[in-house]
């Protein structure tokens, strides 16, 4: 195919951590002037976190929209209580912004009602699944983080028309969700008595091995990689089939990360050389093994895998 190659877009994923209200407000104000094209908003991890109410999210969404961003509202990944289902329903019926479904409850509410994004915690591993969901209104697919580049190539041949592909390209990988809150557990209290202790860990709480290897990041009921997953080099791969690269927010340096991604996209920086520039923003190292069909924690220095 020799059509003009569309410029890849950059997205900012939902904040995965519990930040105080002022920090969230400041953060999104600073995002207004960054070159990200799409911003995902909302609490996706724990419904107890309420720095922002529904209206606050909508207010921020409207400001970002005025600043020229495409705004998507993201739903909770794990639904347990009926009150949580109520929160999801409210997002799905917002009537203005597109919704990222992070659980099949949200898909059920959105199907046939409005177009939606299939978030990274939906299990869409093959074309038959993608096609079924596309027939119900899915227009953008955020790949499960454990899928390899070779899996995406398998999709490309039969990709349903009009589906955009988004890649989790920068940030700590969301690896698991649980009923149990591990941050509370580290404080020797159950989730119901958590006192919102995760607010003290704006980038998660480090879990290391007994030989001091930085291994995982505890983020309430979510477990993340300690390493930053970086697929920056996919920006300079025009044949990858990826339309959008997602940057997952960190408590610091997110604007600089966005800026580096944008410069690579513009061709002003070389992806290979740029790894060094990003290293300070990944204190516990970087990984990209999943993309190379290997252990997620593995790291490949080039854009090409085994």
């Amino acid at each position: 195919m020799n059509v003009a190659r569309a410029r890849k877009r950059l997205s900012l994923g939902p904040v995965q951590y519990f930040w105080p209200r002022e920090k969230l407000l400041d953060f999104y104000r600073s995002i207004e002037s960054t070159p990200v094209d799409i911003v995902y908003l909302g609490e996706t991890v724990c419904s107890k976190r309420r720095s922002f109410r529904h209206k606050d999210w909508i207010d921020v969404a409207e400001r970002l929209q005025i600043a020229g961003k495409e705004v998507v509202l993201s739903t909770l990944a794990l639904i347990e209580a009926s009150s949580e289902l109520g929160l999801v329903r409210k997002l799905c019926k917002n009537g203005n912004f597109t919704v990222e479904a992070n659980d099949m409850s949200a898909v059920q509410m959105l199907a046939g009602e409005m177009d939606f994004v299939g978030g990274p915690s939906l299990n869409i591993y093959n074309v038959a699944t993608l096609r079924k969901l596309a027939s119900m209104g899915l227009t953008r697919w955020v790949m499960p983080v454990e899928l390899a580049q070779k899996a995406l190539l398998g999709f490309s041949r039969e990709m349903p028309a009009g589906i955009e592909v988004e890649l989790f390209a920068w940030g700590r990988l969301p690896l698991a969700y649980s009923a149990r809150c591990y941050t509370a557990r580290a404080h020797n209290v159950p989730k119901d008595a958590c006192e919102y202790c995760c607010i003290d860990y704006p980038d998660g709480l480090m879990l290391s091995t007994r030989e001091e290897e930085s291994f995982l990041m505890i983020n309430g009921i979510q477990t993340q990689s300690a390493k930053i997953h970086s697929l920056l080099h996919e920006l300079s791969n025009p044949e990858s089939g990826v339309d959008i690269l997602r940057i997952s927010p960190q408590s610091e340096h997110t604007e600089q990360v966005i800026s580096v991604f944008d410069q690579v996209r513009a061709g002003d920086l070389d992806a290979q050389e740029t790894s060094n520039e990003l290293a300070p923003f990944a204190a516990f190292g970087m990984c990209n093994g999943y993309w190379h069909d290997d252990a997620g924690m593995a790291s490949y220095s080039t854009g090409h895998g085994p």
Binding site: A77, L78, I79, E80, S82, E84, L85, D103, M104, S105, V107, Q108, A111, S121, N123, I124, Y125, N126, V127, A128, T129, R131, K132, L133, E146, L147, K150, G154, F155, R157, L175, A176, Y177, S178, A179, R180, C181, Y182, A186, P190, K191, D192, L205, M206, L207, S208, T209, R210, E211, E212, E213, F215, I218, T223, Y290, D294, A295, G296, M297, A298
Partner: protein
């Protein structure tokens, strides 16, 4: 309330049936199911024999095809569906939407269950599968409290199956990448958590270290039990303290809450453990059978027998049991 028991081979299937399983669930010898272990599972002929044995004793056979195919291997899952359907099994336990779509279209009369690997934790999610594919029963992840299970049973359009005993996944099933993050192989795509080929045991300074693809999961002294190194049951450092930061080696045991599960209207209780021996399956099945029967006879006065509890404890990880997420305090 039906008792659904695991079988990784024909002797286990017979042990389950002979000890009172209402249904036995099995898988094929490949990555189409979530217990893809060497030497485990069923070929065509063994399923025929197992079906015959189960039928003779009034039990049912379910086949788990509950992992997630990718574009390059999707046909293998289609073949598994066809093979199970042609064998005339009683139900398929499925997780992947594409596979469900295939099964529901090609075999409209075949009974389909939603696997725990499908990660459905709300009635809206379950409604999706019931409406789209005619799913007849949903197995729910081990993340709901007893009260939440009750609400779910109440609102779900189809009957609910819950886990009653066995190894405890503490992460939502179908959404846990811890194994693939460390090894490249995990439950969703490969059908195994912490595959044995990545496990190394070694002695160092008179301690036994267990590693998963090089990552130190635990280190035990003499006399301590070394559990199997799944990431979620390891000992790690958090805030300067070394502990089982995620969960201790322990097994789920619902004997104390069987009357509640019965009263709520749970359709079936499932025992985990297709990777276990026929002797294990026989013992756990017989205890759960006796307990469920006792509970059904007189739910008001039901008490779990001490002998049952000690038998189950002896078969549990770390020889201890928990109610897991059913109990809010655990969360």
């Amino acid at each position: 309330m039906e008792l659904v028991c695991p079988a990784g081979n024909l002797p286990s299937l017979k042990a389950a049936v002979d000890n009172g399983a209402d249904a036995v669930y099995i898988g094929f010898k490949n990555e189409t199911n979530a217990r893809h272990f060497a030497g485990l599972n069923f070929g065509h002929k063994q399923i025929e024999q197992g079906l015959a044995h189960a039928r003779n004793h009034g039990s049912q056979v379910y086949v788990a095809i509950n992992t997630y195919p990718q574009p390059d291997n999707f046909t293998k899952w289609e073949e598994a569906v066809d093979q199970a359907a042609e064998l005339g099994v009683d139900a398929l336990i499925l997780a992947d939407i594409g596979v469900m779509d295939y099964a529901a279209t090609k075999w409209p009369d075949l009974r389909l269950h939603l696997s725990v690997q499908g990660s459905a934790t709300s009635h809206e999610a379950i409604r999706f599968y019931a409406e789209q594919f005619g799913i007849k029963r949903a197995v729910v992840p081990r993340v709901l409290s007893l009260k939440q299970v009750a609400a779910l049973v109440d609102q779900s359009p189809i009957p609910i199956e819950v886990f009653g005993f066995g190894s405890l996944c503490v992460m939502v099933e179908g959404r846990c990448f811890l194994s693939s993050y460390v090894t490249g192989q995990g439950p969703n795509t490969f059908g195994a958590c912490s595959p044995a080929s990545f496990v190394r045991w070694s002695e160092k300074d008179s301690k036994l270290e267990t590693r998963l693809n090089g990552v130190l999961i635990d280190c035990v002294g003499k006399g301590e039990n070394a559990g199997y190194p799944t990431v979620c049951k390891g000992r790690f450092k958090v805030n300067g303290e070394t502990s089982y930061a995620i969960e201790e080696p322990t097994s789920l045991n619902t004997l104390p809450i069987l009357p509640e599960l019965l009263k709520i209207g749970v359709a079936a209780v499932k025992i985990e453990g297709r990777q276990r021996s026929p002797a294990y399956v026989a013992k756990v099945t017989s205890v759960l059978r006796a307990a469920i029967d006792s509970c059904k006879r007189d739910p008001e006065n039901y008490q779990p027998d001490r002998a049952w509890l000690s038998q189950l404890r002896a078969l549990s990880e770390g020889t201890q049991t928990t109610l897991g997420a059913y109990e809010r305090h655990w969360q």
